[in-house]
Amino acid sequence: MKIKSLLLAVGILLSASAVSHAQTADEVIGKYLETIGGTDAWTSFNSMRVTGKAIQMGVNYPFTVISMRPNLTKVVADVMGKEFIEAYDGESAWGLNPFAGGTAPQKSTEEESKEAAMQHFESDFINYRDKGYTVDLEGKEEIEGTECYKLKLVKEEGREEYHFIDAENYVPIMMRSFLQTGQMKGQAVETYFSDYQEVEGTGVLIAYTMEQRFNGQVAMQMVTEKVEFNPEDLTKEAFAFPEK
């Protein structure tokens, strides 16, 4: 289950302001942020709940992703009647994976917590300099037959991501990141975005379909059905590790 990086992708779409000094990269980022509803709309959000269905190896299962500033996240999926969870409560990551033999929620390793803490509620492009990030516009590249701006984003510990912004529509259509751990360490993971639509009544645009590919093969798709911003019933407790 590689939900985390898709979650990260959701986070990228949650964007606020991009105060920019560099030349063209910031222009591209500026236009992109404007396209998805503008910074004011996005900064008014503190939390978010996304529900939909994930499709993996031909199997559909419902998921819910909740997130809250600054970096709280929780993914819950119902896989074959069993609950699958990946979460970060602000201090540590935890999860429940019944397919890896888990019967009760377990805290993740320190490394995984560190990894999870790097996923910000807001887009990585917002105030990226304050976060110590750098962005370079590395020209244009064709993705899925579409001309794109290629933005290189360098994050914590030199981690690199490539974001491909559709030169006509000014929204990302693909993000390339790299696996940090495991047997496939260093392997590229590509996440494709489509079906950008306005979240009703909010004026903001998000990609309702995301598709994750390894080596050109579709590994998982996520179709968003409902997006709620600042849901009243969502509190910090929802992210907490359930102490028994």
Partner: protein
């Protein structure tokens, strides 16, 4: 697989509507899959590891790119696929191990070697690469970083093999490759074949310069330019070292400073004088030398094996690459052969500095690891860097793929296999260097294969016997000259007819038992180009690799068996229209074709007797341009089909078997596809690395393109049906559904157990139903989704679909959605509810909604016709019905479980809120009883492994698991057990209905109290 009506339609329009304006589309999700194999692997040129962690090392291949392991070789990942795959040398910045320099262009310059395009660098562990100069170097033999200053790098440029050029010698950068200085240069014929640095003083370097040249018929190793040089000031000044070394001209040398004692330097010398050849040792940093050994493995084939590696921790221990890997532990006095069952022809060795017993070596047949200092080696079975020359296919189901490989014989293996195409699926049909290998078109037992020197055999795979059927000169005939890679051609008109070429064209119609010669010598027969026996230079290298003035390509017209084409390796292109009695050399009619270059392929058209496509290859004359031509008048006039889109010299052109507008071209840098009869080309990149494509075969039944690479094994483009349907009209439309043939519901197969990591497993074809369409522009903004309806009109699945511009292939699973089952802690039961029944046969409807537009298509699902007789329709129907009964029971059980749970939850909450005590008691009782019934349905105790229980939910799923994978009739007891479970579930349903009645009654009381009653979903709502 696809309808002949479709083919006819395609043909009718392709012949009329093409060839006016270029036609190109993004290939979108059309993707090639790799089937390896890695069993024989391929030539490895360079190995380098991280000094501080020898679990991390890199393997560079002759034409298979760069592979990285993080786990000591248990698994490898390719990391250079977008760039030319011929690797000369890899170097790591040991202080920053994510910075890696890759010099492209193999230095082991055999006749079939590829070419490089300069020096590349990554600073992020291979995520991205930049070209950092030396683009015209062609071959880089060594790279050494200054250990104290990572911006300073020395690069040994061996340079062009086939022509003189000045971009060679030793280069140095002090700014990470932004600028370069050529610090050692002899002349345009002399490259730098090896360098070595004093690890304690980076200003001290030794450089072995090598004067050499290849031509199509000759190899010259050695000449006046060769020599050993030393600098002590970082390359500002050089001294040529001659003292104690052989007088006269020299050839290729390897030089190595002992890392643990920089005064000790080893050198292998190729000299024009036999007595000078051997291993030399200096104990005073090159001032004086002593000859240590003249062993065969020291002096053998210097052009192929001149590399020495000194153990980083022991100045007396030296590894010498050669026909075998040999090692000396006494400073070069004596050598012993190491390696257990290691492939011959060793080119690379890496000894881990932290552990001298950890040794990795690279050969003509893959890479090996020793954990005991080189006594026992195990092979890495995960490196699909195999070097095919050609490929052919048979008509088995699944079809097999046949081909010969550089130094690795001839093999065949399946295009699909349960669990993946693995190393153990492949079979060897002939030893030696392999080239063409064909199955007999109608007798599946017979395989024709060849090896170097024109040795041709007929192999019977039934009993494993092989007959030599090479044509032998008759009395009075000249010696036959066979190309290294001699052409075999099977007639498209007569399954018993086969052609074979030396300088003469031979034909057999009795499986090689007798041959007739068709006409005279078809080559220039120029004696100046027949120097094989003297080839090699200072070391004779008479391996048949330089046989020239030979036939290299043969093709009989599929439209007329009397029309035969024969291309030669010295520039002739001969055609006959009378079955070989008379021949015309039509090469002079080709405007723009340089003389004497190789005709690399001929492709007589499948649609027109007078049409033929040809490729020519001039790289052995130093000309790396592509040459592709077409004639429509039997060679009188020619049109060039070359466009600036094509990169790399051309190996093969093939015409599609069903769409005449569709052409495939293999070059040194990949596969190119033309949709407009060669007016324009587009490189096919989707999962196909930038390696040489030497063989192509279109499968006549399965509509697949099989791609033989010379460095990355076999790739398959499974379904050509979409690109066969591309027309200008399609390209102009916003959206277009492609016609596809039926999808077969295949029999389920078992995978393979517990192989662990490290064994290559090739991808199988996608067996799901493919919905294929064209989008003119990528769909990014607004909603686009796809709905699939079954034969009964019911909605089966909703998918997001593909959004790419160009071709989109959406895989639709051929199973129903998973049932909504009750939970369980029983593994078999969980699996039983994870594999829903296969979709029924019939016609399915696809509706795509894209914005306001709606597009509709259909496809057919049919049971595998191959298995139809074994599992007749009545049995399949019974299986499906029984599966569906259990599937529905699973859903019903799940529904009742979750509704009882809802009743329990709601009643428990309400009982604390109501004021009437009696009602509270009734609610509490109701809650307890609902929960009891709920719990009786499932088994949640146990450990999900060895201590498991079973109730009705588990009984249903376990029975289902037993019948779900079998397409035929279930057993009587399985059917009667299904009926029993239905009866049991009927009881449960009645009990549940009683709960609903009680719930309704309680709700009346609750409403009287002004409270909202309990609610549960209907079964239909639950299943939505």
């Amino acid at each position: 697989m696809r309808t002949s009506l479709l083919t006819t339609l395609l043909l009718s329009f392709t012949l009329t509507t093409f060839a006016q304006s270029p036609l190109q589309i993004p290939f979108g999700s059309l993707r090639a899959r790799s089937i390896g194999p890695a069993v024989m692997s391929g030539r490895v040129t360079s190995i380098t590891g991280v000094n501080s962690d020898h679990r991390v090392f890199y393997i560079g291949a002759a034409n298979g790119g760069v592979w990285k392991t993080n786990n000591g070789g248990a698994t490898f990942q390719p990391m250079f696929d977008d760039h030319p795959q011929s690797i000369g040398h890899i170097a790591i910045d040991q202080a920053h191990p994510d910075t890696i320099w890759v010099g492209t262009g193999e230095p082991w310059v055999r006749n079939s070697t590829s070419v490089g395009t300069g020096l590349y660098r990554t600073t992020n562990g291979g995520k991205t690469w930049s070209v950092v100069g030396l683009e015209n170097s062609e071959r880089i033999s060594n790279i050494i970083l200054d250990p104290n200053d990572p911006a300073t790098v020395y690069v040994a440029v061996q340079g062009h093999l086939w022509d003189a050029n000045e971009d060679r010698g030793l280069y140095k950068t002090t700014d990470f490759g932004q600028t370069w200085a050529r610090i050692l240069y002899v002349d345009a014929n002399t490259g730098c074949a090896d360098i070595s640095m004093d690890p304690t003083n980076p200003n001290v370097l030794y450089a072995a310069m090598w004067d050499h040249r290849r031509s199509p018929d000759f190899f010259q190793s050695g000449g006046p330019g060769s020599g050993l040089y030393k600098t002590t000031d970082g390359g500002k000044t050089w001294n040529r070292l001659t003292k104690d070394l052989p007088e006269g001209q020299l050839g290729r040398m390897a030089v190595a400073v002992a890392p643990s004692d920089p005064n000790v330097v080893y050198l292998t010398v190729e000299s024009e004088k036999k007595e000078g050849k051997g291993l030399y040792r200096s104990d005073d940093a090159g001032q004086s030398w002593k000859i240590m050994s003249t062993d065969f493995n020291i002096t053998v084939r210097p052009f192929y094996f001149a590399r020495l590696v000194v153990d980083p921790n022991d100045p007396q221990k030296i590894y010498k690459c050669g026909l075998n890997l040999t090692v000396s532990e006494d400073g070069g006095k004596t050598f012993r052969t190491v390696g257990s069952g290691v492939h011959s022809d060793v080119h690379a060795v890496w000894v881990a500095p932290m552990d001298s017993k950890f040794v990795v070596t690279g050969t003509d047949g893959g890479a090996y690891r020793s954990l005991d200092g080189g006594t026992v080696f195990e092979m890495f079975m995960d490196l699909p860097i195999s070097q095919f020359y050609h490929v052919s296919v048979d008509n088995a189901k699944p079809y097999n793929v046949y081909g010969g490989l550089q130094d690795n014989g001839s093999w065949y293996g399946p295009s699909a296999s349960p669990g993946g195409v693995e190393n153990s699926d492949w079979n060897l049909s002939n030893w030696g260097d392999g080239f063409y290998s064909f199955p007999h078109p109608t007798d599946p037992d017979i395989i024709y294969s060849e090896s170097q020197g024109g040795n041709l055999v007929r192999h019977n795979r039934r009993d494993g016997q092989t007959k030599d059927i090479k044509p032998i000169p008759e009395e009075g005939e000249p010696e036959y000259r066979f190309n290294w890679n001699s052409p075999i051609h099977l007639s498209p008109n007569n399954p018993e007819r086969m052609y074979y070429g030396s300088q003469f064209l031979f034909m057999t119609e009795d499986r090689g038992n007798s041959w007739s010669r068709l006409g005279p010598d078809l080559t220039t027969n120029d004696p100046n180009r027949q120097r094989q026996k003297k080839s090699g230079g200072f070391t004779i290298d008479n391996s048949a690799a330089e046989n020239n003035t030979t036939i290299y390509a043969i093709g009989e017209s599929p439209r007329d068996e009397k029309v035969i084409w024969a291309g030669t390796d010295d520039g002739n292109l001969q055609v006959t229209t009378d079955g070989g009695k008379t021949w015309t050399n039509v090469a002079p009619n080709i405007a723009g074709l340089p003389p004497f270059i190789w005709c690399s392929s001929v492709e007589p058209s499948h649609y027109d007797r007078n049409t033929c496509y040809v490729t020519f290859d001039g790289h052995r004359h130093g000309d790396k341009a592509a040459y592709v031509f077409k004639t429509t008048d039997l060679g009188k006039t020619w049109t060039s089909l070359v466009t600036p889109d094509i990169e790399g010299y051309a190996h093969i052109v093939r015409e599609d078997l069903k769409a005449s507008n569709l052409l495939f071209l293999g070059t040194e840098f990949g596969l190119y596809i033309s949709l407009d009869m060669g007016l324009s080309w587009k490189r096919f990149e989707n999962n196909l690395p930038k390696t040489a494509v030497m063989g192509l075969a279109v499968h006549p039944r399965d509509n697949a393109l099989v791609i033989a690479t010379h460095g990355r094994g076999i790739y398959i483009l499974d379904d050509l049906t979409a690109i066969r349907q591309i027309t200008p009209e399609v390209v102009a439309s916003d959206f277009h559904f492609f016609e596809t043939g039926p999808t077969f519901l295949r029999l389920a197969q078992n995978g393979r157990p517990f192989g662990g990591a490290g064994n290559f497993s090739g991808e199988n074809p996608d067996e799901s139903a493919s919905i294929t369409y064209y989008l003119r522009k990528r769909h990014t903004i607004g909603k686009m989704s796809m709905a699939v309806y079954g034969p009964d009109g019911a909605l089966i699945n909703e998918l997001p679909g593909g959004k790419s511009a160009g071709i989109n292939i959406v895989s639709l699973p051929t199973r129903l959605p998973m049932p909504k089952a009750a939970p369980t802690n029983n593994r078999s039961a969980l699996f039983g509810s994870a594999f829903p029944p296969t979709l029924p046969e019939g016609k399915y409807k696809v509706v795509i909604n894209k914005g306001k537009e709606e597009y509709t298509s259909t496809f057919d699902l049919i049971f595998d016709p191959e298995a139809d007789a074994t599992y007749p329709p009545a049995d399949r129907k019974l299986a499906y019905q029984t599966q569906m009964r259990l599937y529905n029971l699973t859903n019903q059980c799940g529904y009742i479980y979750f509704m009882l749970e809802a009743m329990h939850t709601q009643a428990s909450e309400l009982q604390g809120k109501v004021t009437k005590k009696k009602l509270a008691t009734q609610l509490a009782e109701f809650a307890t009883q609902a929960e009891a019934l709920k719990n009786s349905l499932v088994s949640l105790e146990g450990d999900f492994y060895i201590d498991e229980g079973a109730n009705i939910r588990e009984d249903i799923s376990t029975l289902y698991l037993g019948i779900s994978q079998f397409p035929g009739k279930p057993s009587d007891r399985q059917i009667s057990k299904t009926t029993q479970l239905e009866q049991k579930m009927g009881d449960v349903q009645r009990q549940f209905d009683a709960f609903k009645t009680r719930m309704d009654a309680l709700n009346v009381e609750l409403e009287k109290e002004g409270m909202e009653g309990m609610k549960v979903k209907t079964l239909v709502e639950y299943l939505e």
